[in-house]
């Protein structure tokens, strides 16, 4: 009975795991979520002393991972922009999955921010009394508005569910909403451009921390533009990577080789542009910005484990090399190379966010300061685990009951045919 009901909600022509196996999978992640929810409750009810952050080390694991998931979630707006505005039709194969990933990344980041900021009953103060001169105010408004846009973009995917589409009017609304999707794609692009930028700009304007401080254009430091570029470079790679992961877990082919190639090509081009701009920016900072503020740049890399290797790995190993692999057609045609390069691109952005949050906070800023150390508490790990579990659960249910990959049906049928022929 339950199995028949479950089957009736699964899109036609695709194969999903048996309900019991899906139940076990959901149960596992619900367990992780429950532990994290308890940790969040502790932080909200008692305060942030449950974390290992303090007045000096104000940005910890949560902000570092928030910045990372927001960067990786950029695939949603960038794919939407390429598909609806620039009409890159081949990206239709992944747009639904990109929207769900974006929704998970942004809503997860919002939840963890809410725990980090605390005082949830006063959350509306952020919107009602914004500090218009703070980059964070812009980030708050943009992320909130963009999350709303992502929710709206999720509605057509939801309404196309096999059962829901039969309810009178749902498909009509979906149709009309879909016709206006270009507006949401443009708004999403505008909002993402500014909040990705402002998240970078936030560090670039820290005059008291010369390791992060950068000069720039008008009111925007160079990190504003580098954050945007790195996010749109890593976004398509993250989509390719997650799609491959879902393919492995579900043991299904979900998108064609052409779709992988398009994602890799776009990611590679943007990554090369990012590496070029990042290299120029770093050279300018090493030779101009840092010395002008009284700090020879090499001194920043003399503390603890944060040596110059971080810079080399970030720009060359996790930037230039994957960029070259992704723009070179014969190389990216090899799936292991493509996936390794996509993974490296995502790791490069992660390292960049790590350097700007954790390393910036750790480095001394006054002559009598020492390198600060920080290791997150179990509550910090658990709270982020809850967000990961939430993401896995939302994606799992979406994948099971909604059409996230329009090509899956044809690919599944071809696969079933082939298997039958082999038998």
């Amino acid at each position: 009975m339950v199995s028949a009901l479950d089957r009736a909600w699964i899109p036609r022509g695709v194969v999903r795991a048996p309900l019991t196996r899906f139940g076990l999978w959901v149960g596992l992640w619900l367990g992780v979520f429950a532990v994290g929810a308890y940790a969040m409750y502790l932080c909200l009810a008692d305060g942030l002393f449950h974390t290992n952050m303090d007045n000096r080390y104000v940005f910890g694991l949560w902000i570092f991972l928030d910045l990372t998931v927001i960067a990786l979630g950029a695939g949603a707006f960038f794919t939407g922009f390429l598909l609806y505005v620039l009409r890159k039709k081949e990206l239709k194969a992944v747009i639904n999955s990109a929207v769900v990933l974006g929704l998970i990344c942004y809503s997860g980041a919002m939840v963890i921010l809410a725990v980090d900021v605390g005082q949830p009953l006063r959350a509306w103060f952020t919107y009602w009394y914004p500090n218009a001169h703070s980059m964070l105010a812009e980030v708050t408004f943009c992320i909130t508005c963009y999350l709303l846009v992502l929710c709206i973009e999720y509605v057509p995917i939801l309404l196309k569910n096999r059962r829901l589409r039969g309810i009178g009017g749902y498909l009509v609304f979906e149709h009309e909403l879909h016709k206006l999707m270009v507006v949401f794609a443009l708004i999403g692009t505008l909002l993402s451009f500014f909040h990705q930028g402002s998240l970078g700009g936030l560090f670039g304007v820290l005059r008291g921390r010369p390791f992060a401080f950068r000069e720039g254009f008008a009111i925007w430091p160079s990190t504003f533009f580098l954050f945007i570029l790195s996010a749109i470079a890593a976004g398509p790679s993250f989509i390719a990577l997650t799609t491959w992961l879902v393919e492995k877990i579900s043991r299904r082919r979900l998108i064609s080789a052409e779709a992988y190639d398009t994602l890799a090509r776009i990611s590679g081009k943007m990554l090369m542009l990012y590496v070029l701009m990042k290299s120029l920016d770093t050279l300018f900072w090493l030779n101009q910005t840092a010395p002008a503020r009284g700090f020879p740049a090499h001194r920043f890399y003399e503390f603890g484990n944060f040596g110059g290797w971080t810079l080399f790995i970030e720009i060359v190993i996790l930037g230039l090399l994957p960029g070259l692999a992704l723009i070179h057609a014969p190389l990216r045609a090899k799936r292991p190379v493509l996936l390794a390069a996509a993974l490296a691109a995502c790791a490069g952005v992660t390292l960049n966010r790590f350097v700007l949050t954790i390393q910036t906070m750790a480095l001394p800023t006054l002559p009598f300061d020492r390198l600060m150390s920080y290791w997150p508490s179990w509550q910090e790990f658990a709270a982020f685990g809850a967000v990961v579990a939430y993401g896995v659960l939302v994606y799992s249910f979406s994948f099971r009951y909604l059409t996230l990959f329009p090509q899956e049906r044809e690919l599944t049928r071809a696969e079933l045919m082939q298997r039958s022929q082999e038998a």
Binding site: R7, A8, V172, H175, T403, R413, L416, Q418
Partner: protein, 261 residues
């Protein structure tokens, strides 16, 4: 946030910040409102079923949306973007302007239903041979009762088999005056609507070309499954295909051939 809220000042920073975000919020709200308003308008104008079909149609693979003129080789590779409603299609109007008269006999809808004038002003509507092979006898279908209003491309009735459900699309606009279990080949006698037109239905050589392609497609699926007869060596498709094809393949193939996404 607003001029009357504590902390606001009429500086360029505040005005630009608040102005931009209120504009964005307003754009989002207006766009959603527009979608709701248009949906209500669609309902009032009776376009709901047509739109639902368009939505289903665009979810179908491109190979299932081949233009009728692509089947006959007149327009190579053309994909229909009009929901198979050739009554509104300028390309079809241009290409058929030179035709003299439609051949007699059945007119086919791409969802594997057919229409034939009964001679008394009504039309007989039935499932073609391919649909019958895929779904079994029409008797298993809940044939729509007399008085049911049909709309071309809108669902006419639903067939349930082996836990799967398929909706059969109506080939014509009209009202059912008599329903039948399909034992005589048809499942409904329909009184056509006043503005009835059969321009969108396949006929003559294009129906033959389309039917051949559909048979080929079925054959392609069938010949890859062990134990299936092959038309290429003179065999014929016999029996119920739902019993022969793997369940996943049968359901997916049936749905696609019946244009049920």
């Amino acid at each position: 946030m607003f001029p009357w809220v504590y902390g606001f000042s009429w500086t360029p920073g505040h005005v630009i910040f608040v102005g931009v975000f209120l504009t964005v919020a307003a754009a989002v709200a207006v766009t959603v409102f527009l979608a709701v308003f248009r949906s209500v308008q669609d309902f009032r104008r009776g376009k709901a079923r047509q739109i639902a079909w368009q939505s289903h149609f665009h979810d179908l693979p491109a190979s299932d949306r081949a233009c009728r003129h692509a089947l006959t080789g007149e327009l190579k590779g053309r994909v229909c973007d009009n929901g198979f409603d050739c009554r509104q299609c300028s390309v079809h109007a241009r290409l058929t302007a030179i035709e003299t008269a439609p051949p007699a006999g059945r007119l086919y809808h791409r969802g594997h239903t057919w229409v034939r004038p009964a001679g008394d002003g009504t039309l007989l509507v039935g499932l073609d041979e391919i649909a019958t092979k895929l779904l079994g006898s029409v008797g298993q279908a809940a044939a729509p009762p007399a008085g049911t209003v049909l709309e071309a491309n809108a669902p006419a009735f639903t067939v349930r088999k082996k836990g799967a459900e398929f909706r059969i699309l109506s080939p014509v606009d009209g009202v059912i005056v008599e329903s039948h279990d399909g034992s005589q080949g048809w499942f409904a006698r329909v009184k056509p609507a006043e503005n009835y037109s059969d321009v969108h239905l396949l006929r003559g050589h294009e129906a033959t070309a389309w039917f051949q392609r559909e048979v080929d497609r079925l054959q392609m699926a069938a010949c890859q499954v062990n134990g299936m007869p092959a038309l290429a060596d003179g065999g014929v498709l016999e029996g119920d295909l739902s019993e022969v094809l793997p369940p996943g393949v049968w359901e997916s193939l049936s749905a696609e051939m019946l244009l049920d996404s």
